[in-house]
Symmetry: C2
Subunit: 284 residues, 2 copies
């Protein structure tokens, strides 16, 4: 790969970690950071996550081979408009958003003909926020979902694949629609559900919770604004998943009310087995 | 405390860990283990979790000061019948079950007048099973819920409190009814929900799940038979919690369908704050 200049727009946990990873794995590559708060940019410079800073997104992308959008989901479309005129011919733009249909559609519509958009969703992060928590190894061995469409440039796709692989990630391709449908089930609804579990119990009950509940609700610590954006951006799929969950709860309710001891054990055993298989597949 | 002989009925993860903890913290105390599989008893002896073994529960409790019932919830009542005639005057019987009304009622009804039952629920464990995973420090710094009633002997309660404190646990008293109501919300339903989340996603979606989903569903790896017993034993409260969850899901659904950006962020932020407070309280 011959990336000589990378722009990172939004230098929080993900953007900062991408910067640190690029610095350690792409020698000689310039990393321009953009953020609307100068304090964040100063921290990113001090931590070595970027090599220079810009407070204007259009200036930040000038001459860049690869532009990485690391802002919250709701900020992606406005940002694409702001940078469009600054992109050099052949520039490749990608993002790290948790929902993909909207941003991919916006990227393909708003970028000039000489630049290319490819959607990415690196499955890495933590409930912590801010460049102070950035780590060069955040992406290592994690999965990156990349969402090409019929309009995606094969060359740009290859470059984005290689970029995330250079950062240590495993790659999977799927369409933006399939991404959003599947992620609603294994990420977006689970997040909302963790929040629901915390919301429905009073303080006295929460204080009786064990380690299992702490693990179960860890993702409820995420930033409300970021998750609100994701749930609303992917609302049709999230609402569909709520319906699906309601049907599963009704099934569980029937097994419990009937005292159907055998079927209830089967249901629980089968979930345990599915989870064990899932964990085993990712060890391979 | 002057415990000279303790009987542990059921030497799996919890019983075995209690045995190891007693061996290291109650010097000179005999630990009699009972189990229906001789192989398990041999392992427990070899690992030093018990000092002698018995395959008849009634013989196992003879002369014991404290009897710890560590079998699955559904086996507790039959076991109480089997040991009743073998208990010495002043013997104190307690258990480690995750639901408390049934076992406490059975203990108070079935034991002879010269023996005492006190319900315990040490909030320790793991999704692993078996004496091979037993650890002397399993109970350290964890919470033990103890469920006295109007019929509980104050002296027996004091002995049970001190026993778990000797094993390093923090103690909370609450009634069996309050225990079962609160635990349905922060343990029993969450377990079923983790299983539901795994059940509703197909294999392809599960393979796209990130660390958050792995954490969220960890408790779904528990033993199906054990959890079936708990869900059925506490069925009224579990069904009540499912209703409560359904109401919270309906609220969430409304916020998402309306695209009520401000209220949805507030709802998510408030859950994150409640969880942060919960975690902070337990650090104190």
């Amino acid at each position: 790969m011959s990336l000589r200049r990378i722009s990172i727009l939004g230098v929080g946990l993900l953007g900062g970690s991408a910067g640190l990873a690029c610095r350690s794995r792409l020698s000689g590559c310039e990393i321009i950071g953009y953020g609307h708060r100068t304090q964040t940019l100063e921290s990113a410079l001090r931590l070595g996550a970027i090599t220079s800073a810009a407070t204007d997104p259009r200036l930040a992308v000038e001459g860049a081979d690869l532009i990485l959008l690391c802002t919250p989901v709701a900020r992606l479309a406005p940002l694409l408009t702001e940078i469009a005129a600054g992109l050099k011919p052949g520039a490749v733009v990608t993002d790290v958003g948790s929902s993909k249909r909207t941003v991919v559609e916006a990227g393909e519509r708003m970028l000039p003909i000489h630049a290319h958009f490819v959607g990415s969703h690196p499955m890495a992060g933590s409930e912590k926020r801010g460049v102070e928590f950035a780590r060069a190894d955040l992406f290592e061995n994690a999965l990156c979902l990349i969402t090409p469409t019929d309009h995606t440039s094969p060359q740009a796709l290859k470059e984005v694949d290689e970029f995330w692989q250079t950062l240590g990630m495993r790659i999977t391709h799927l369409s933006p629609a399939e991404h959003d449908r599947r992620l609603a089930e294994v990420s977006h609804l689970p997040h909302a559900l963790a929040a629901a579990m915390v919301s429905m119990a009073d303080r006295e009950s929460l204080d009786l919770a064990g380690k299992g509940f702490i693990d179960l609700t860890r993702i409820a610590s995420g930033d409300g604004g970021l998750w609100r954006d994701i749930l609303l951006d992917n609302r049709d799929n999230v609402l569909g998943s709520i319906d699906k969950l309601r049907a599963v709860l009704a099934e569980l309710e029937t097994l419990i009310s009937r005292g159907d001891s055998i079927a209830l054990k089967d249901w629980l055993d089968s979930a345990a087995a599915r989870r064990a298989e899932m964990v085993e597949r990712r060890m391979m």
